[in-house]
Every structure is written in C-alpha cells, then in structure tokens.
Symmetry: C2
Subunit: 120 residues, 2 copies
DNA sequence: TCCTTGGATAGATGTTCATCAAAACAGTGG
DNA sequence: CCACTGTTTTGATGAACATCTATCCAAGGA
C-alpha cells in the first residue's frame, strides 16, 4: 500500500465560497478534491464505502457493483486515495477502504455561507 | 442569452453519500455538478460572483481577475451556467451573473451524513 | 515450494477538456 | 448607418483522463 499522505491541504482551505473570493492557490487545492469526485464511478465508490456497514468496504465488494474491470476500479480508488478522501488498509487477504469524513465535512462547509472553518 | 434550464436534476438528488449507495443515475447527475466545479478558474468565478456586493457580478469584473482571454472566461461561465450553478442576465451593455444558492446547498448536504433532502 | 486468488501497476488507446485566435453577435453612441 | 465596446461562438491544438489488456506483487492453502 503506497503512502497515504493527504495531498490536498484542506487544513487551510477555505472560507465559504460566498464569504470572500477564493485565492488562486486555494482554488487549485479545492479543485483537486472536486476533480476527484467529478466521476460517477468514484462517487458511487465513495458512497458505497461511506454507507457500508462498519464504515469500511473491501475492494471485492466494490468491484462487483460495476461493469468495469478490476484495474479500472483500482485506478479510481487510487485517485480517491491520493486526493485524501479515503484510505486503504490491507488486512490479510483483502484491502479495506474507509472515507475521511472530515474532508467531506470541510468540503461541504465551503459550499454554504455558514461560519468559516475553525483552524485545527 | 441561451436557455437557463437547470440541466442537472437536483430535485431528486440525493440522500447523503453515507446514508445509502448512490444509484448509477444519481451518480451521473451529481458528477455533472462536481465536474463543473472541478476547475480552479470556475471555482474562483463562482466565489467571485457569490461574494460580490449585491450577489451579482458582471463579466467585465470577472475577466480582470484572471490572466485569461475573454473567450476562455466566457467558456467557463457557460459551463457553470449549463450545470445550473449560475444564471446570467444582460442589462444594457453588460451581462450580470449570480449564483443559485439552493444548488450549492443541496450539493453541500449530500456530502455530510445529515438529514435526507426534504422534497420541495 | 507451487498454485490460486485479491489487488495494484504499466503501457496503450480513444475521448474529453482548457485554452487561444478569429469571427460573429449585441448594445450604445456618434 | 457606422464605429466602438462587451460578450459569445467557432474551430483548432495540446494536455489530461477513463478504460482496457497484460503483467506483477502479496497473502494463503495444497
């Protein structure tokens, strides 16, 4: 399993869209997250993982839900992993994925004109 | 000004990602919105419009904020328009754009495991 | 050790997309 | 009617991306 470093720096990103104009750098960071979610297969993968019992799902479960080859699913999981939205862990034979709810929460907060992000 | 029909059917979309697996159709609809936001320029445009005084901004203001040609900005505005995120209105010489807050709110709600969308 | 199964990587291919220059379109004022 | 400014459309080009086949790595069981 490759590194799980969060590629997207959500720590500093961002005030709500409607509060103040996004800086160029913030926009680039945010766009990486949106790009990761800008595919139907990846959205379903994310949803399958997030809604699965125990908060995690193994790749075997995920592959069965699509008419796609294993490598393609693996590719999409890699995109989600590198964007920081999910993490994968091997336990014995199978690899289990789970979502990072904080990242989804921060992303959600950017879209509505509520409070700014509280610095961690 | 072309039609402003909301291309994305957010009316029926969706329960939160973590509540139940997205259907294939729902994932396609949602991905159109995320795809529209999956570009740094479009995110900054959205933010510039949403945070602008009066809730609207003219194209002339927007163009000045980027090192891009007019046609490129116009292209990005078209993508945002066709996704249903913004609307444009011509008043005399200038065209003014404003965001559709409901669409952003629904998108935001999908990301966090709160209540399901209340039917309008 | 060898074989089998789950999963990831590498390389190739067709499609989608961001950008620009050139042209067209829409208003305003002379 | 003509010239000028603001905005959109068209057409072309290069980069990014989704998908596949083939190959490889990791873990478990004979």
């Amino acid at each position: 399993m490759p590194k799980q470093l969060p590629v997207v720096a959500m720590d500093t990103c961002c005030s709500p869209l409607a509060r103040e104009p996004l800086s160029a750098g913030q926009a680039i960071e945010l766009s990486k997250l949106f790009k990761a979610m800008a595919d139907p297969v990846r959205l379903r993968l994310l949803s399958l993982i997030a809604s699965h019992a125990g908060g995690e799902a193994c790749v075997c479960d995920l592959t069965d839900a699509f008419d796609l080859t294993g490598p393609t699913i693996s590719h999409h999981l890699k995109v989600l992993r590198e964007s920081g939205l999910i993490t994968g862990e091997r336990r014995g034979t199978w690899v289990y994925y789970r979502v990072h709810p904080e990242v989804l929460a921060r992303l959600s907060a950017v879209l509505v004109p509520g409070d700014a992000i509280v610095p961690a």
